[in-house]
Amino acid sequence: MKLSIYFLVFLVFISFKISHSAKGKEQFNDDDFSEFEEFDDEEEVTVKPQTKPSHTQNENNKQVKEEEIENQQTIYRKLDDDDDEDEVIVEEDDDNDEFSYFADEEEFIGYDSEKVQGGSKTPRSQEEPKITIAKVPLHLRSNWDSFYLEMLMAAGLVVYFLNFVFGKGKNQKLATAWFEKHRALLESNFALVGDDGKPEIENPGLRKESENVYILWCSGRTLMEGMLIELRLLKRQDLVAVIGQILRPSTDQLIIKVNLDEMDNFVFACGTKKAAGKLAKEMTDITTYCPEKKSGDKFGLGAQFVVHSELSEVAAAILRDHKVMAVINKNPELFEFFHFSDQYSGPKQQEEAQPTKLPQVKSTLVFGYNFPKDSLVSDSLESMKPLMQLTLYLIDKLSHLRLSKDAKSKAEKNRSKVEEAFLKATHAARAEMAQSLREEKKRKERERIMSLDDPEKQRKWEEKEQKRQMKRRAPKMKTLKIKPM
C-alpha cells in the first residue's frame, strides 16, 4: 500500500519534470528523445485522466491512482526502451532501496516534501493542472513578430545594397563629368588619352579601378614619359565608409603623377599641413633630403601651407611664380599638395633587414588637388580647369628649370653623401653576403673533388687549400727590393 503510494509519487514527479523541461523555451534536449518529448506532451493531453477533484477517499484515490498508473505506464511505454527498462526495474523493485531513495528529500529538486506525506490524501487533480501541456514551441508558421532581429538584419542588407547602387552611380557621374570637362584640354596636349590596356586601343578614356577610383593614362607629349591621372573619389558605394565620412569629412581627390624624361636634381614638397606632414613621414626622398618644414608664409602661400625644400632656390622659383600663386590663391581649398623630386621612389618600405641596394628612383612630379564641395552642381567643375592648366604649365617649367651652380653643387653633394652613408650602413651586410658567396663556392669545389674518388687528386687539392689558408693568415709583408751596390 505504502509502496504503491511512493511509486505513484515517483511517477508523478518524473512526469512533472518532463513537462517542465519541455516548457522551457530553448531547453531543447539534443538527445534522441527530443522528438518524443514533444509528442509526449501532446499525448499526455489525451491520456490525462478525467478525474474530478472531489475524491478524497483513499479507496477512490487508490482506484484512480491505479488507473493513473496504467495510463502513465502506457505513456511511458511509448518512450524508448531505456525508459521501459527503468519502469520494469521500478515495478519489480520491492526493496528498501526504494524507500531510502524516497526518504531522502534532497534527491528531488523542486519537489515539495509535503506531497510525500499527504500523497494519498492530496487529490491527484491538484497536480494534474500543473502537468499541463507545454505550448508547442514557436515555429515559423506563427508569430512573425518574434523575428524582429532578422527583419532588421535583412532591412540593413537592403539599405546597404541600395546605397551601393546609388553611390556607384554618383561616383560614375562625377568621374565622367570631370572627364568631359577636361577632355578637350587633354586631347590637345597628349597623343594618347586613356589607355584601356588592350594591345589595340578600343575604348580610350577613363578606366575604372574600383567603384571609387578611376584612372586615366595620358602619353605622347614632349618632355615626359606619361601622365597618370587618378580620380580618388569618396567611397559612396560603401555604407560603412559613408558613415565614416559623416564623422570625418574628406573630399574627392585628383592625383596627377608625371614621369619626366629629365629634370635637374632637387626635391621639393609643399601642401596643407596634414598632406605635407603625411608626405614628410612616408616618402623616402623627403625624409632623406628635406625633412625640415617651413611655413608657407615665407613664400606667400598662406599659413595653412607648409613647404619642404632641399634647395630654397627651387622653392622660390616655383612659389613666387605669378601664375602659380594666382591659381592657388584663387581657390586655396582646391590645392592639396605638390611633390616634385628627381629621387622619387615611393613611400617608405617597412623592411626589417637592411636593403642591399638603393631603391630605384625616377624623376617624378606629383600633384594633389581636391574636388570642389558640390562637384555635381552645374558648373562647379569649371573651377578645376585652371588646376589642369597649372599642372601642364609646371611640367614644362620644371623640365626646363636649370639650377644655379651653387645649387647644383649642393644638390650633388647631398646625393653623394646619402649614397656614402648607405654604403657604409650596408657594408657589413654586403661583406657578409660576399663571404657567404665565397664559402658557397668553396663548398661546391670541395664536393666536386670529393666525389672524384681519386685519393691522389684529393690529397693534392687539400694541400693546395692548406697553402692558400696559410698565405691568407700570414701577415702581408712587402718585399723590398735591394738594389745591388
Binding site: 515555429h139 532578422e150 538584419m153 542588407l157 577610383v213 615611393g346
Partner: protein, 110 residues
C-alpha cells in the same frame, strides 16, 4: 611659355603604353586592404556561426562579405568574392535549419 600644341608637333615625343604597377609596389592606385581584411573576417565569422551555431555571427559574416564586395577592385578575383558570399549565406541557412528559433542578440541573457 611654349604653346602647348607646338610641344606636340615640333619636338619628338613618344607614346608609352600604360603599365599598371605590380601589386606589391606601394602607392599603386587604388591600393586598399579593406577588401582582404573583410574577406578574412567574413570567413572567420561564417566558421564561428557554423561551428558554434551562433546566428549573429552568420549575419555579421554576410555583412563583411558585402563590405568586401563594395570595396573590391575591378581586377580582383570574383571567385573569391563569390565563395565568401556563399559561405556566409550557407552559415546563415544552416544556423536557421538547426535551430528555427528567432535570433537573440548576443548581449541579452538567455
Amino acid at each position: 611659355m611654349l604653346n602647348h600644341t607646338e610641344n606636340k608637333r615640333n619636338d619628338k615625343f613618344k607614346i608609352v603604353r600604360y603599365k599598371p604597377a605590380p601589386q606589391g609596389t606601394p602607392g599603386a592606385p587604388g591600393e586598399d586592404p579593406t577588401t582582404d581584411y573583410m574577406n578574412v573576417l567574413g570567413m572567420i565569422f561564417s566558421m564561428c556561426g557554423l561551428m558554434m551555431r551562433l546566428k549573429w555571427c552568420s549575419w555579421v559574416a554576410i555583412y563583411c562579405s558585402c563590405i568586401s564586395f563594395a570595396n573590391s577592385r575591378t581586377n580582383d578575383d570574383t571567385k573569391q568574392m563569390l565563395s565568401s558570399f556563399m559561405l556566409s549565406i550557407s552559415a546563415v541557412v544552416m544556423s536557421y535549419l538547426q535551430n528555427p528559433q528567432p535570433m537573440t542578440p548576443p548581449w541579452s541573457n538567455i
